[in-house]
Symmetry: C2
Subunit: 441 residues, 2 copies
């Protein structure tokens, strides 16, 4: 533990650039965070990485992908049945309108995965779903529409499968149950646009196109710092006045869920000099896209981040939000910096209200949160001048507040699956009131 630094006076009025009231609105701060990241990534676009398809779930496609070949690669049958030449069937049409049929000689069966010989006039070839249509064939008659309506077992035929006949309907349109080569996507056509989130469906298409690797955008690189002399890593014993670090786990897993790569996560003790020196060294070593700290930014006497970055291009301000009011934003060594408050609930709410939406907007991060309308099951009070963010449990159109407003209530947070914002100006919401909640899962 470092020696305690000198307490520092921070008069309230000097701390808050922004609107006259000294507090920045939630929407304005969200926009500022988005601008900060947008400016950075415009100048420092993510690198491209070629990775195996099996490793690419949740990643973002780096560039447009065009189909390297036709899909399907060859014209094939959509049904189990007989491939026919429809020109052969005209003879079976009856002028009286009664459905006619034609008897054709059965050719050798076409299994999937083989190239069949051309279909001779007057013959029909057994063909299975997905198998290549022989040259000359232009339609498939499903086995159920043929007589006999099953494939004759091999034991009853000569070894080449020929020698029997099959009766098929005369009114079989050309093209019936035929999947043309390239009918799903043709060679050279756009398959997936740059920025696509690669889920099972997109990965399935790339596999079908024969690709076993894919070029994705490098994940945003985040240097994550937790501060505080009182903070101890989970798994280690606590001394007097100490607490275990929840922020590193909360923010690391949230960042990873939103597609970021956490390069380093550290607990830094409360010495501004040490904080600044290590931060500079880590930035030089890791080349992060974002430095995110928690703790040490409000108006107490020991605010290591605020004191350590006093000379940096970072504003420490107050956002009209509760929890999560104190916020730091700016750049350190030219790299985007965000300082979240140290209470775990405050840091998580800051992530969901500011950083996740910015990552989604700027980098196309996967898993954006969704907002839904819900009815409160219990009344909620809120300070008039604050955008209060309460935690709750959403179930089928209703939301039940969980725990109080306290920013240390991690147990209640862990039982929640939604944030309930109560905007500035609303001091009370009754049970049954309709609110817009942010789903956390």
């Amino acid at each position: 533990m470092s020696a305690s630094p000198a307490p520092q006076s921070v008069p309230a009025s000097a701390a808050a650039p922004g609107p006259a009231a000294g507090r920045r609105e939630v929407a304005a701060h969200r926009e500022a965070v988005e601008d900060l990241l947008r400016t950075w990534f415009l100048a420092h676009p993510p690198a491209h990485e070629s990775i195996a398809l099996g490793e690419a779930a949740g990643r973002l496609l780096a560039a447009d992908v065009r189909a390297p070949g036709n899909l399907p690669p060859f014209t094939n049958s959509q049904m189990d049945g007989y491939a026919v030449r429809t020109a052969d069937l005209a003879a079976g049409s009856r002028p009286d309108g009664i459905p006619g049929s034609v008897r054709l000689a059965a050719a050798a069966p076409i299994p999937a995965g083989s190239a069949p010989p051309p279909l001779l006039p007057g013959t029909a070839a057994p063909v299975m779903t997905g198998a290549m249509l022989p040259e000359g064939a232009d339609a498939v008659v499903p086995i159920e529409a043929c007589t006999p309506d099953y494939f004759v077992p091999a034991g009853f035929l000569p070894a080449d499968g020929t020698g029997s006949t099959v009766e098929v309907p005369a009114e079989t349109p050309s093209g019936q149950f035929v999947r043309r080569a390239g009918s799903d996507i043709s060679a050279g056509a756009p398959a997936l646009p740059a920025g696509s989130v690669l889920g099972p469906l997109q990965l399935g298409l790339l596999a079908a196109l024969g690709l076993d690797r894919v070029t994705v955008r490098a994940r945003p690189r985040v240097l994550l710092l937790t501060t505080g002399d009182e903070v101890v890593e989970p798994g280690r014993p606590l001394g007097p006045g100490q607490i275990h670090d929840a922020n590193t786990t909360l923010l690391r897993s949230s960042l990873e869920e939103a597609g970021a790569q956490v390069l380093r996560s550290r607990i830094l003790a409360d010495s501004p000099q040490e904080f600044t020196a290590r931060l500079r060294a880590d930035i030089a070593a890791d080349a992060p896209d974002l430095v995110l700290s928690s703790g040490g930014i409000s108006k107490g006497a020991y605010e290591v981040v605020r004191q350590g970055l006093a000379a940096a291009d970072v504003a420490f301000l107050s956002v009209a939000m509760q929890p999560g009011g104190p916020q730091g934003i700016g750049t350190v060594e030219g790299v985007p910096f965000l300082g979240f408050p140290g209470n775990p609930v405050s840091s998580l709410v800051s992530f969901e209200m500011f950083l996740r939406p910015a990552l989604t907007a700027v980098t196309g991060a996967p898993r954006p949160r969704t907002e839904v309308q819900a009815r409160l099951t219990a009344p909620l009070g809120s300070p008039a001048g604050k955008h209060q963010v309460r935690r709750g449990r959403y179930t089928a159109g209703t939301v039940e507040p969980v725990g109080g407003p306290g920013s240390h209530l991690l147990h209640a947070l862990a039982a929640s699956n939604a944030l309930i914002p109560v905007p500035v100006g609303t001091e009370r919401l009754e049970a049954g009131a309709e609110v817009t909640v942010l789903l956390l899962e």
Copy 2:
């Protein structure tokens, strides 16, 4: 490639156990899949694994977790301010109702992460958010309510921080801005129930409780097989009549997203003998909880799964769904077996309609799909007797059908984010009709 096996006759009527019409309803098959897995996991509950917190995102808690200690671990301040003994303040109360105040001697500041000495009567100690309250103190007066309303810089005071005074409001209730030890959760109380999905919020609570490892349920172990002489791994060149394997990628990434572990994924050629021999060997080697195959189960002449498992306890039947009608279900060597059809769209729809809901219901798998109401932007036709499942793009209350009904249309599937079920009996839905769609993300 194996030698082509003999075509086998499979008269349509013999293939479909179940209702009189020969087709099983979608809901009945979903229930059968759930029953199959439930029976297995009741007899073979998942093993417990102790893993690091950083590896546990998305995993399921194996057993109830109780708090090993109080949270917060000690009584601390909710604000930056002065810790006071409210008994000292009574002297400042005024009988005329005008707010009174009391001047107290300033004690040494209490930084976070240290154990302060007891608070002497008549004194007030500067205390920062989260710092331990000294013995004797029973309330915190926020710095903004004090005179002076900032912490006096150390340079202006003796080294021990004493010697100045602070004026605090007399009407300060006992307990104000005090977070009691155990007020979030008390030692021994239930913190998280068995089966909880471990997201950032739950992991944050475990970290705050000092835990760096967590005991989770082993993931369901799935042996994944793709069949077909015509199927080639992505990255390898195609011969005539061959296609690249999309099913392994589609199903593997879907299974992993739903919390399963894919032990082995293999493309097996079209020899029933080889299929059965390798399946038995893999089951013995891998001890899977589920065998999932795609392809080889319908009524063609070359149906390797159906032929290979003819002697096993597996039913091959027809579900009134399109795509995904042919389905295999049963056990092989006592292990649950599901056979999906070979067309990629059919296999994905089978996963979403049958296997994902069963995994959610039986194992508590993360990321269940959600259903939402949406208005169709274009009309849809559907066969009367089938539960047709079309693909579409959901945006803000509307859903646009993407691609036709064809089960080979992977490009359209990859542009979709929703399934649009059109139930049995509905032959046409007009533009503007309200449908219940299954969101795929």
